[in-house]
């Protein structure tokens, strides 16, 4: 347990660095490896800005909560057989709770500066974040069906024969929609989008902004590790040791998520809300029904 936690804490910073590098690829400004570190260092040396009558406590804590949720979500993912930081029999539910709390934290981040653009971003995010969460619940329950358990360890073990991504082809793409939403990315970035000049982080500067980006990247890592465990067989794989497989799969999901965020355009929020409830949610029902039939055969 302690070994797994230490391994996660050690692996997280390099993975966050990797996430920042993925974000830089294709922007045409070079310095892919060192750029994120340098920019982060420069931000750390800038001052935090105060706003008029902000909610200081929540403003100070929001990035920390976001980072904490990423870490808790990451802690239910098994690194190798028998090595997991949080061996909870309801790990999938704990992951769901982290998703729900992410919506709360992003809302607080936009609420606390007492400024119009962050406030609008916060409210829009709640509208999209809540139904996006339903999606992930259905596809994760689909992953739990063959495992007959809500424990992520069991979900991975149940994929020894065949990975869930093959058995449930709709699962991973739908789960990725949630990944984009909780990491504030591309088509689901209703909190920090360009049409709000940075939205919930429009009023943040210096270390507060750097930490928010750090937490956002760690949430990407947590989401990718979870997707790898639920759909790509986690640490399972031939020849290489388990943790290496998990690392490779996590990196692959990270890259795919970043690419998806760049490829799909962001709709106005009302349109996205209808799309979520009327197209994506029924699709997740279909996915679950297909899994149900497949498991019983």
């Amino acid at each position: 347990m302690i070994v797994a936690t230490l391994a996660l804490l050690l692996a997280l910073p390099p993975l966050i660095w990797a996430a920042a590098m993925f974000d830089r690829i294709g922007t045409g400004r070079g310095a892919i490896v060192m750029g994120p570190i340098r920019n982060g260092a420069a931000l750390m040396l800038r001052p935090n800005t105060e706003t008029e009558a902000p909610d200081r406590l929540n403003r100070l804590l929001a990035p920390g909560w976001y980072l904490a949720l990423a870490l808790v979500g990451l802690s239910v993912v098994p690194l190798a057989p028998g090595i997991v930081a949080t061996d909870l029999s309801t790990g999938l539910v704990l992951w769901g709770a982290c998703e729900a709390l992410t919506v709360v934290v992003v809302f607080l981040h936009g609420w606390s500066p007492n400024a119009p653009l962050p406030l609008i971003g916060a409210y829009r995010y709640v509208a999209i974040g809540l139904p996006a969460m339903l999606l992930s619940m259905f596809v994760l329950i689909g992953a739990a069906l063959p495992a007959e358990s809500l424990s992520v360890v069991e979900v991975v073990e149940a994929q020894r024969g065949l990975w869930n991504v093959v058995r449930q082809p709709l699962g991973l793409p739908l789960f990725m929609a949630l990944g984009l939403a909780i990491t504030l990315r591309g088509p689901f970035d209703y909190a920090d989008g360009a049409e709000l000049a940075g939205g919930t982080s429009a009023e943040e500067s210096g270390p507060a902004l750097a930490l928010w980006q750090f937490a956002r990247a760690s949430m990407l890592v947590a989401f990718s590790a979870m997707a790898a465990a639920a759909f790509l067989g986690g640490h399972l794989g031939p020849v290489l040791p388990g943790p290496v497989w998990l690392l490779l799969k996590t990196l692959a999901v990270m890259a795919a998520t970043v690419a998806a965020g760049r490829f799909f355009a962001r709709m106005p929020p009302a349109r996205m809300l209808t799309f979520l409830w009327v197209v994506l949610l029924p699709l997740s029902f279909v996915s679950l029904a297909l899994v149900g039939v497949e498991v019983l055969e």
Binding site: E52, L67, A68, S75, P116, I141, L145, P146, A202
Partner: protein, 114 residues
């Protein structure tokens, strides 16, 4: 105990780390023009905090009802394989009933901005 020890520990670690990092930088007293909310040079008349006109409130109510239902699904998923067809039929019915709710909400336009 051991199940929730690590989540609590990493939560405390993360929060302490984030607060400490925000405290090490230069702490300067902001002037009033600096504090004004960013509106591209424009100025607001009032505080931004307000009785915010949420445009999707019927959706949130529908959502809560749906979320309740999710809580039944988790234990269902665990015993699904053992119970077999009964579980499939039962959940099919349950989801069917709730889908009626979504269809009704869609027809009434609750997934649009009010």
């Amino acid at each position: 105990m051991t199940q929730i020890a690590m989540p609590i520990v990493v939560t405390l670690l993360a929060v302490v780390f984030a607060v400490a990092m925000q405290r090490i930088g230069p702490q300067t007293g902001a002037t009033w023009p600096q504090r004004a909310p960013f509106l591209g040079g424009g100025q607001p008349e009032t505080h931004a905090w307000q009785r915010f006109h949420v445009r999707y409130y019927p959706m949130t109510l529908l959502f809560i009802a749906f979320e309740m239902e999710m809580m039944f699904m988790y234990p269902w998923a665990v015993v699904y394989v053992e119970t077999g067809l009964t579980a499939l039929a039962e959940m099919g019915m349950f989801l069917g009933i709730l889908s009626v709710g979504i269809l009704y909400g869609w027809r009434e336009g609750v997934f649009r901005w009010q």
